[in-house]
Structure formats: structure tokens, C-alpha cells
């Protein structure tokens, strides 16, 4: 069952990929064979939607077979939750697509969802048992609703990105072009992270270092990427011999701090290499490369899609990430709210989107500014997923 489940996930991933290509064709290939543009768009859009839907059904298959195999809802570790989040993004896209029928949204939203799923696959995917605090029906309800809310909110990021690709003036360089390129770079760095992690995993790379923590306790840490940065005062114990080229600063004292820094450096460098390569091939900003593809996009409509996703996602997020979370926390930890980092970041996300909604009430915050806000909102969601889970440890910490 577990095997079937992971196969279904692979299939879903490839169907998403096919769906993305089809959406791209629907947008780019309008001039092909001199066909009528509108029918072309409609037809390929429908195929793209159908593929995304089928992919989604396959991923649902993954979800329920894994549920069956594990005996609990598969949303309880980094791999499971992140995969589910990607699935909810696809689901949110399908809903928004039904309302607005804009193919370009598929070209951006689907790859973002795929990237999220690819990122998930770097984490250990074995089925884990549930500790007592997680054994609750409210867990299912809370986590799934919260992920759905975040998935819908993430669509506003896709819409915001499209808006910026179209509206940012690429003829001169500006703050806007810089930050847009930075967003592209972060996306590439994530891709680099996935590729590097997968490659070294496939190659079976592993090396172990020993070091002592501030309390004088001897610890060992196992690197799965070659050590550019080793733990402060660490010594090589076993495994592949490479580096470390230098030691982590002495204030990074956490058990895994140096290893995480190492991963970050690999991703950042990998991202730079990828970005450099892409720039070399394109010979212009990535934003400038994409701009012609979105030139026919109706900016107002995209702006509205972004706002609408927040409007739809905000109540769902409130319900899932705050209200249901409080109900669960009351049962599991005796208090509905405890200022645990993960809780606080859910609150921050909520406050941020509340601010977004209020800003939309005032003059001058539609369009570009709004699109940037949507980008920041997504960054906050990802921070909560990545940094808070992996770096700031709290009750919710997965790794």
C-alpha cells in the first residue's frame, strides 16, 4: 500500500507537469497554424484544466492510500504536510480557474505547486508513528483546513507574480526589477536545493562529525551534503571524506545548526549557478524573458484574482490555522494558545492578510503594491513552513 501510494504521487507529479506544458501552449501557441486565438485558448485551457484535475485525483489517491497504510491522516511530518500543502495549492488553483478561466494562472500556479511537492520529497518519507499529542481528530481537521487556506492564499502569489511580470518596466533596472529577479533567484535556489539533495542522496553521500556543545556534551552530526561548513571545533568521524572547508561561527551552537547552514549555503550557491546559467542563455533578465508571454494578460483581472484568492482564503485560513488549532491545543496542551513559535507565525500570517485586506480598502494599494504584498504573504507562509519548522524549534517542530 505504501508503495502504491508513493507511485501515485509520482504519477500525479508528472501529470501536473504535463498540465503546465499544456497551459503554456494555450498561452504561447496562439499563433500556431493560424487558428482562431479564442478557440485555441479555450481548447488548450480545457485540456490543461483536465490534466491538472486528473493529477489532483492521482494525488488524492496517494493521500488516501497513505492514510490507509499509516492508519492516520498523512499530514504529520514535514514530507506529508508539505506534499499536502502542494496538493491544496492545486485544488485552490482548480477552484479559482473555474471562476476566472485564465490559462496564464496555470502556467505559474502549477509549477509553484510542483516545486512545493518537489521540496517535500527531500524530507524523509517513511511512515512515522504518531506521538500522543498528535492523536486527535482535531489534528486532521486543523492541519487540513490550515493547508487549504494557505493553498488558496498562495494562488494570490501566483497572480501577483503574473501581474509583476507584466507590469514591471523591464526597459530599465529598478527596485522592482531587482526584487522580481530576486524572487526568480529564490525559486531557482529551491530547485537547486532539491536537485543537490536528491543527487547526493542517490549517490549515498554521508559523513559524520563529532563536536561538543556549549554544555560540554559530545554530539555527532551526520551530513548528507558535502561539508562546506562544519560544526565549530568538529572532527571527522566516518563516511565520505570531504571538507569541511571552514567551521561554522562559534555562536551557532544548536545540534544541527551547522548542518542547516551547510544546506543553506549549498542551496544559495546552487541557486547562483542556475541563475547565472539561465541569464547566460537568455541574455536578459528572467523577468524580461517572461514579459512577452504575459503581454496579453488583462492586468485588472489578474489583480482581482489575487485579491479574490485572499478573500476566499482568509476565512478558511482563520478557521483552520487559528480556530481549529485553538480547539486542538486546548485538548492536547490544556491551553488554546501558548505563544509557541508556530502558533505565533500563524497569527503573523493572519495579521498580514488582515492588513492586506484593509490596505485594499485604501487608495493606491491595488495593482503593483498589492502584487508585492501577495509575494510577501507567500514568503511568510513559506517561512512558517520552512524556517519555523526547521530552525526555530517549538512544540510543532518536525525535525
Amino acid at each position: 500500500m505504501a508503495q502504491l501510494s508513493s507511485n501515485l504521487l509520482y504519477i500525479a507529479f508528472f501529470i501536473y507537469f504535463a498540465g503546465t506544458i499544456v497551459f503554456a501552449i494555450s498561452v504561447l501557441g496562439k499563433k500556431w497554424r493560424k487558428r482562431d486565438e479564442e478557440t485555441h485558448e479555450k481548447r488548450w485551457g480545457r485540456i490543461g484544466f483536465g490534466l491538472s484535475l486528473i493529477g489532483f485525483l492521482f494525488q488524492l489517491g496517494y493521500f488516501f492510500t497513505r492514510w490507509n497504510a499509516a492508519g492516520h491522516v498523512p499530514v504529520s511530518n514535514m514530507f506529508e504536510f508539505t506534499t499536502f500543502f502542494g496538493m491544496m495549492m492545486v485544488f485552490a488553483f482548480l477552484i479559482i480557474y473555474l471562476i476566472y478561466k485564465t490559462n496564464i494562472l496555470g502556467v505559474v500556479a502549477m509549477p509553484v505547486a510542483m516545486l512545493v511537492i518537489a521540496y517535500a520529497s527531500v524530507f524523509p518519507s517513511e511512515i512515522e508513528p504518531l506521538i500522543p499529542a498528535l492523536q486527535s481528530n482535531w489534528l486532521k481537521i486543523h492541519v487540513t483546513t490550515a493547508a487549504l487556506g494557505e493553498g488558496i492564499l498562495a494562488i494570490s502569489f501566483a497572480a501577483g507574480l503574473i501581474y509583476l511580470l507584466k507590469e514591471v518596466n523591464q526597459s530599465t533596472s529598478s527596485k522592482n526589477t531587482f526584487w522580481l529577479e530576486f524572487v526568480m533567484y529564490v525559486i531557482l535556489a529551491t530547485i537547486a536545493f532539491v536537485i543537490i539533495s536528491m543527487s547526493f542522496k542517490a549517490a549515498g553521500f554521508e559523513s559524520t562529525y563529532q563536536f561538543s556543545d556549549p554544555n560540554g556534551q559530545e554530539l555527532t552530526v551526520t551530513y548528507t551534503l558535502p561539508a562546506i561548513v562544519g560544526p565549530d571545533g568538529g572532527e571527522y568521524v566516518s563516511g565520505s571524506e570531504f571538507g569541511p572547508l571552514f567551521d561554522a561561527p562559534s555562536w551557532m551552537r544548536g545540534e544541527n545548526a551547522a548542518r542547516k547552514l551547510n544546506t543553506l549555503i549549498w542551496s544559495a550557491l546552487g541557486g547562483l549557478v542556475l541563475y547565472g546559467l539561465v541569464r547566460l542563455i537568455l541574455r536578459k533578465r528572467i523577468g524580461a524573458f517572461f514579459q512577452p508571454m504575459v503581454k496579453n494578460v488583462n492586468s485588472d483581472l489578474v489583480d482581482e484574482i489575487g485579491y479574490r484568492s485572499v478573500a476566499i482564503g482568509f476565512p478558511v485560513f482563520t478557521l483552520g490555522a487559528l480556530i481549529f488549532a485553538m480547539i486542538w491545543a486546548q485538548a492536547a496542551w490544556t491551553r488554546f494558545w501558548g505563544w509557541d513559535p508556530k502558533e505565533v507565525w500563524a497569527l503573523i500570517t493572519w495579521l498580514f492578510y488582515a492588513a492586506y485586506l484593509h490596505l485594499r480598502l485604501s487608495r493606491g494599494w491595488h495593482g503593483k503594491k498589492s502584487a508585492w504584498l501577495a509575494v510577501i504573504g507567500f514568503v511568510i507562509i513559506m517561512l512558517n513552513l520552512v524556517v519555523v519548522n526547521l530552525v526555530i524549534s517549538g512544540l510543532h517542530s518536525y525535525a
Binding site: A69, A70, G71, Y100, P124, E126, I127, E128, P129, I131, P132, A133, Q135, S136, W138, P214, W251, R253, D300, L301, E304, Y307, R308, A311, I312, F314, P315, T318, L319, I323, M326, Q330, A331, A332, W333, T334, R335, F336, G338, W339, D340, V344, W345, L347, I348, L351, F352, A355, H358, L359, L361, S362, R363, G364, W365, H366, G367, V388, I392, G394
Partner: protein
């Protein structure tokens, strides 16, 4: 209202400060502008836009401003984020001293964090003040807008002033059609879309989902209720949070019930996942730790019967057996008993034998309950042992005298007096774990240690939170409000005959896309021209 009211040419009398006539929609500040009307709050007279003189006006206007509201939200957001940089005081190890801890663990930045008081950020006065400002802003901003908005939506008339129509974002003119027929068809199509249609002199006002305009106010009320609920917890009697350690076999009064309920711990159960479990094997090998599966206290709840007589044990009546697990607290009269902690194998009793050191012969066995030792233990044949002194958590103090650190038998020690036929006055022995001292000279007898009995201890938390209902109520109202405001939107379509033309205007408080799609169907069905979206770049942003 002491200021002068404004009479519109349509005859309606508007409150001072009104921008657009509540009834016919004529712009009251005639500036001959062709610009689109600002339809937010229907151009009604808001206190904050009208009165700006007295200090009260100034405070009112400050807190009713959305800009200020947004700033408060942003400040709360940033403050909350700062609080997650290093752990809050409540999450550092309980034995750690915060004055040292932050510096030791996080260096200079940690020390700074501590000195700025960020280690207890969410309880700081300024954080509370921010929350209070949020509450105040919510109340004032809502009052400022709700009443005028309510008035203008209530008083609106069907036939609208020309310039009101023209200056709507969605506006179109149709001429050269059979007016009666076209309007009739339009009316039918509009009704199909679920609009309420009002008619006046052959003109139409179609409106739907007006209730969604109240969404923000409803959700703000929900938030205010929630904040009030949060405040109430600081009032005595609303909130109780007590730790209760209960040994296996022990029965204790439940704190917060005034002794009317007792709880017995029959057994504490700790279960771990089986390392060889097919399903979880791989994951458990990777983390290389045993993973807990269940923490459970098999508890029995008792109720006290009748009045308690001082000095006597209470008479208890069993209410129910209940396995308290994480996520499954025991609920009694608004009180919850939660499984939160445990200690395994705590010392409970020690068993000794009285032994003649030379012959090795023993004279009876005694078991000392470490929580409740007897004064004298009678053994057979006239042998007996007196407990002269008992130190449950033994240590030597500064003066090298034996004392006890606590009442918990972590390190029990005794001074025994052993009576035997040979020593009717008794011999004194100091007995602790792996220690046997004879402070008053050599003895003939000794206490020989046999074994210990251990028990598990459950760490339970007794919680009462009478504010939960209010919080749940506030939360529910909030949700209803957001859903009202977000999943529905207020749409209006005005159709007016002007000479030989039909004018059509539309307004939506959000989701113009949806309104336009409906208009598409309506105009197709009626032969009217599809109105245009007049918003240009500049005005769409209003």
C-alpha cells in the same frame, strides 16, 4: 445634530457632512467633476470626516482611521515576530536562570534580548497596550461607519440622479429600442439572477446581498468579544490552572472543586511503539529513538458524600472510572483534568529486616511507607524499631546536620532506634541508601535493607477556563462576519429612463468581475447595450 442639515433637490434631508444624497444619489458637493463617485460608505456622513475640532474628535478620528488600524496590525505583527527570535521565558528549561541563560545560549544578542524584556514579550505592558489599541480602534472605526452606512442603504431610492448614474464605474446608455419591452425583459433576467427588484416610475433598482455589507462590522464585533474574553481570564474565579501529582494508588482532592471531588490514580500506563512494528520500522530506525504511543492515567473520580467532618477522612462515592489520556481530558463541572507529565518508578516503600550482625539471624521484616512512615514498627518476640527521624529527601546542610530538601522521597534516610531483649534502651542507627552509620557507637543489630517498592506518578493539570465560551462565541461571530463579507458581495443595478434612452449603472462593493458577468447575461436577454467599465487606471485604485 447641531450643525445644519442638507436638503437635496429631491426633497430628502441629509445629515450634515453627507457627500452623496442618501435618497437620490445626487452628489452634494457639486464640483461638476466627471470623475467617478467615491462610493465607499455611500458618501454618507461619517463623524470622523465631519467633526475635527475638539480633543475628543481628534482621538475619535485617530482611531477610526483605517491607516492607523493598519499600523496597529503591523506593529503587532512585527512585535509577535520578534518574540520568536529566541525562546520565550516559559519555554526555556525550568531550572535555567534567565539572567544567565540567554547570554550563555545566544551570546550578546541573547543578552540584549533579555535586557529589552523580549524574553517575556507577549506579557509585556506595551504588547498589552497594542492589543488594547487594536480593540479601541476596532470599536471606534466600526461605530464611525456603521450608522451612516446603515442610514444611506436604508434610505436609498429607486430613481437616481443623473450625475449619480453617469459617475458610476459601470455605466451605459441604450437608445432606439422599445423601452417597455427591454426593461421588462431586463427585469426578468435580473430576477433570475436572484436580485430584489424595486420599481418607481418605470425605473428599476435591483439589489442583492446587501447583508454582506455588514460582514466587516459583524466580524469586528466578534473580534471585540474575543478580546474581552481574553481579558476576563485575569479576573479571579474565571481561570484556574493547578498541577496535581498523583501516585499510583493515591487519592487526592481535586484542586478547584472545594474538596467535593476526589481523584484516584489506579495505574499509570506508558506505552511505546514497538520497534519491530512493520509499518513504522524504517522511521524508527532513522530517528533511533523509541517513540511514545500513549500516556494514560487510569483514574477514578469520586464525589464526597454529605458534609465533611473536620479531622475525619471524607466519605467518598465513586462517580466513574475514566482513562485520562493526552487529548482526552477528564471533564467535571466545567473543569478539565489533563494528562501532561509523569515520573516512572518513584520510591514508595522500603523494606528492612532487623538483623544481628554477628549471627546474621533476622528478627522480622518491616515495610516503611515513605510517604507516611509509622512511628514504631513492632516485630515479633519483643523486637521493635522506632523511627526517630525521617528525611525523605536527605542531604547535609551547611552545618553538616542531616536535613531534607523536600517532602518527596527522592533520597530517603532514617534514624532508627532498634529495641531488642539485649538492648531494652535501644541502639541508634542512621540508614540511608547504601549507607549505614552508627553515630552513637558500635551496635549489635543492624537494619538490613531488603527491597524497595516503586510507583509511577502521574502529572496532571487541573484547568478551569470559564472564558472559553466567550472566546468560542467571539470566534464564531468573527467567522460568520468574515464569511458574510467575503463570500457574498453587494451588487446593485440601476435602470432609469431618460427621454428616449435607457440608462444603466451598476455597483459592486467587490468582485466587479461577477457583476459584469451577470450584466452580460442580462443585456443579452434584454437587448440593452452592455454598459462599460469606466474605471481608468487612476480611479480603479480608489
Amino acid at each position: 445634530m447641531d450643525k445644519k442639515q442638507i436638503s437635496c433637490e429631491c426633497g430628502h434631508v441629509n445629515p450634515y457632512g453627507t457627500q452623496i444624497c442618501e435618497s437620490c444619489g445626487k452628489p452634494l458637493h457639486e464640483d461638476d467633476s466627471k470623475k467617478l463617485l467615491n462610493m465607499r460608505y455611500e458618501g454618507s456622513a461619517r463623524r470622523s470626516q465631519t467633526y475635527k475640532k475638539t480633543p475628543i474628535d481628534k482621538v475619535w478620528n485617530f482611531f477610526s482611521s483605517v491607516k492607523v488600524g493598519i499600523w496597529i496590525i503591523i506593529l503587532l505583527l512585527v512585535a509577535s515576530a520578534i518574540g520568536t527570535i529566541f525562546p520565550q521565558e516559559m519555554y526555556i528549561p525550568p531550572q535555567a536562570d534567565p539572567t544567565e541563560y540567554y547570554k550563555e545560549q545566544y551570546g550578546f544578542l541573547g543578552q540584549l534580548y533579555y535586557q529589552l524584556g523580549f524574553h517575556n514579550l507577549y506579557g509585556s505592558w506595551w504588547f498589552m497596550l497594542l492589543i488594547a489599541a487594536l480593540g479601541l480602534s476596532l470599536i471606534i472605526a466600526s461605530l464611525d461607519r456603521f450608522v451612516p452606512l446603515y442610514r444611506s442603504l436604508k434610505k436609498q431610492r429607486v430613481t437616481r440622479h443623473e450625475s449619480f448614474m453617469k459617475r458610476q464605474r459601470i455605466f451605459g446608455v441604450t437608445s432606439g429600442v422599445n423601452e417597455d419591452k427591454a426593461i421588462d425583459k431586463a427585469k426578468e433576467a435580473i430576477k433570475k439572477k436572484g436580485y430584489n427588484v424595486r420599481e418607481e416610475d418605470g425605473n428599476l433598482l435591483a439589489e442583492k446581498n446587501r447583508f454582506s455589507r455588514w460582514g466587516p462590522y459583524v466580524n469586528h464585533v466578534g473580534l471585540i468579544i474575543f478580546l474581552i474574553g481574553g481579558m476576563l481570564r485575569f479576573f479571579p474565579g474565571m481561570y484556574l490552572d493547578e498541577v496535581m501529582w498523583l501516585r499510583e494508588g493515591q487519592t487526592e482532592a481535586i484542586p478547584g472543586t472545594e474538596g467535593s471531588y476526589y481523584l484516584k490514580n489506579e495505574d499509570f500506563i506508558l506505552e511505546m511503539y514497538d520497534e519491530n512494528d512493520e509499518q513504522f520500522k524504517e522511521a524508527m530506525e532513522r530517528v533511533n529513538k523509541v517513540i511514545p504511543k500513549n500516556y494514560q492515567t487510569d483514574a477514578v473520580l469520586y464525589k464526597q458524600k454529605g458534609e465533611r467532618v473536620a479531622g475525619q477522612d471524607p466519605e467518598l462515592e465513586k462517580v466513574k472510572k475514566y482513562p485520562i489520556q493526552v487529548n482526552k481530558p477528564l471533564k467535571i463541572d466545567g473543569l478539565g483534568v489533563y494528562q501532561v507529565d509523569y515520573k516512572l518508578n518513584e520510591l514508595q516503600a522500603m523494606t528492612f529486616k532487623l538483623e544481628n550482625k554477628d549471627s546474621g539471624k533476622t528478627f522480622g521484616e518491616m515495610t516503611v511507607d515513605l510517604y507516611n512512615p509509622k512511628e514504631v514498627y513492632e516485630l515479633k518476640d519483643g523486637y521493635r524499631v522506632e523511627v526517630m527521624n525521617y528525611f525523605p529527601d536527605f542531604e547535609f546542610n551547611d552545618k553538616d546536620e542531616p536535613t531534607t530538601k523536600s517532602k518527596i522521597p527522592n533520597n530517603p534516610a532514617f534514624i532508627f532506634k532498634m529495641f531488642s531483649p539485649e538492648h531494652p534502651d535501644g541502639e541508634v542507627a542512621f540508614v540511608a541508601i547504601r549507607q549505614n552509620l552508627e553515630p552513637l557507637g558500635e551496635n549489635e543489630y543492624k537494619m538490613s535493607f531488603q527491597n524497595v517498592e516503586t510507583k509511577d506518578v502521574s502529572g496532571l493539570v487541573v484547568k478551569k477556563d470559564n472564558t472559553l465560551w466567550i472566546l468560542a462565541f467571539g470566534g464564531a461571530i468573527f467567522m460568520i462576519g468574515v464569511v458574510m463579507g467575503m463570500y457574498w458581495n453587494h451588487r446593485r443595478i440601476w435602470i432609469r429612463r431618460m427621454d428616449n434612452e435607457i440608462w444603466m449603472a451598476g455597483h459592486a462593493n467587490k468582485n466587479w468581475h461577477g457583476l459584469k458577468r451577470e450584466l452580460q447575461t442580462i443585456t443579452e436577454a434584454s437587448g440593452l447595450n452592455m454598459p462599460e467599465d469606466q474605471a481608468d487606471e487612476d480611479e480603479k485604485k480608489s
